[in-house]
Amino acid sequence: MTMTVELVSPEEIAYEGVAKTIIARTVGGGDIAFQEGHVPFIGTLAVWEVKLYDEAGQTTTFAVHRGFVEVAGSHVIILSDMAERSDEIDIDRARAAKASAESAVAANDEDEEAVTKLQRARVRLHVSGAEPLV
């Protein structure tokens, strides 16, 4: 009872494989899990993590920055502007990005771009296991 998963970013196919359970977070909808037999589903993704559980219970985590998830039959397509695997994240860079985004938000908290940037950096750090998300 597995599903085939494709994680596609504009520049490449980030991941292709099978998983038993997929957990993602949609905009305004909270977390949602997919297993085989799920009804067809199309949703927009938040800047958050996507977790894939394989049959042995191993997890693979990705940081995704917006995008879409489509479930059709036993096939899951995740489209995202950016999809980074937990072990591919450059923690130092994410920390630096977080610091610069934090100061930008502090200067102007209506700066949407900076707010998104901050969220991205936080998710990156969270997914890489460097800093838990508060």
Binding site: I13, V39, P40, I77
Partner: protein, 312 residues
């Protein structure tokens, strides 16, 4: 000692050889970059395909296709032209091809009585239209060589803004389609309003309508999906153009290298001929001189001299 002409030729051969070295290096660089650019273009394909697929599924599932990006207008009051050129030259007819296509589009817009807005990617296009006093709405430099998705997003933002918030009712995209390493062609595409989707929406393949869940809502998904789709299309056009640019440069530089080689052969022949002529002349001069001296030293043995004396 080489003569003056020979020296001139020798110098020219030297300079052609230097040029050849440069064009050869550029050819090799372009050759490796075209492979890389091709790979990137290929890697970007799945995303564009998938996003199209999701949109098709969405409209098949009965999402209402009403969105500013889909609004069709019969007679546009203004047409925006997005032109993708290179930043650097020495790439054959690459820029000339797309610029010509852009001028045709401008003429067509003028004939329809519509105004125009130019969005130019690459400094070659900007320089061309700037020099001819066209009104340029926006230009981007430094992205056409190795475009990233972030670059595509920036350009898409400008274009979408034009389409949604100004009288622009139609956007034409002009880029160079990469067919193969040996063949690229300037292409004009209707960029906005999004056309393909409209037809999908109207034909309304109703089989899947039943039970697709949407989060947050069909319209909500569509409205965040369409801008992504615009970006993805622009991104793939940028990538194809980049690959085409490198392929064109490779070809142009190969032609230049071949020409240089031919020129070197011709010049070398000419130089050898000139040198031989100079040597022959020199030998003739020496023989002439030697004969004159021999004649002076031994008058009696010279039949002509004896003859002359006899007559006198």
């Amino acid at each position: 000692m080489p003569g003056a002409e020979e020296r001139v030729l020798r110098r020219r051969i030297g300079s052609v050889q230097n040029t050849k070295k440069i064009t050869r290096a550029m050819e090799l660089i372009a050759a490796t970059r075209v492979v890389k650019a091709q790979q990137r273009a290929r890697a970007a394909k799945p995303y564009a395909q998938k996003i199209t697929q999701v949109i098709e599924d969405l409209s098949a599932a009965g999402a209402s296709v009403k969105h500013p990006l889909l609004e069709q207008v019969e007679n546009p009051t203004e047409v925006a032209i997005v032109l993708i050129t290179s930043d650097r030259g020495l790439c054959g007819a690459y820029n000339a091809g797309v610029i010509k296509a852009a001028e045709r589009e401008l003429d067509a817009a003028r004939n329809e009585g519509a105004g125009y807005k130019l969005v130019l990617v690459g400094s070659k296009g900007r320089d061309y239209f700037n020099f001819r006093n066209f009104d340029i709405h926006a230009d981007f430099e430094g992205i056409s060589d190795t475009p990233t998705y972030e670059d595509a997003r920036k350009v898409a933002e400008v274009v979408t803004d034009l389409f949604e918030n100004t009288p622009v009712d139609r956007v034409q995209l002009i880029y160079t389609e990469f067919i193969s390493v040996g063949s690229q062609k300037p292409t004009v595409r209707r960029f906005l309003p999004l056309q393909s989707m409209q037809s999908v929406g109207e034909s309304g393949d109703a089989k899947a309508v039943a039970d697709v869940e949407f989060e947050p809502s069909p319209e909500g998904v569509l409205s965040s999906l369409l801008p992504r789709y615009v970006e993805a299309r622009l991104f793939s056009a940028l990538l194809e153009s980049a690959a085409s640019e490198h392929a064109n440069r490779q070809r142009a530089m190969k032609a230049a290298t071949d020409n240089a080689e031919e020129l070197i052969i011709k010049l070398t022949r000419k130089m050898n001929q000139v040198r031989q002529d100079a040597i022959t002349t020199e030998i003739m001069e020496i023989i002439g001189g030697a004969e004159a001296m021999a004649a002076g030293a031994d008058d009696d043995n010279d039949p002509t001299q004896a003859e002359l004396e006899r007559i006198a």
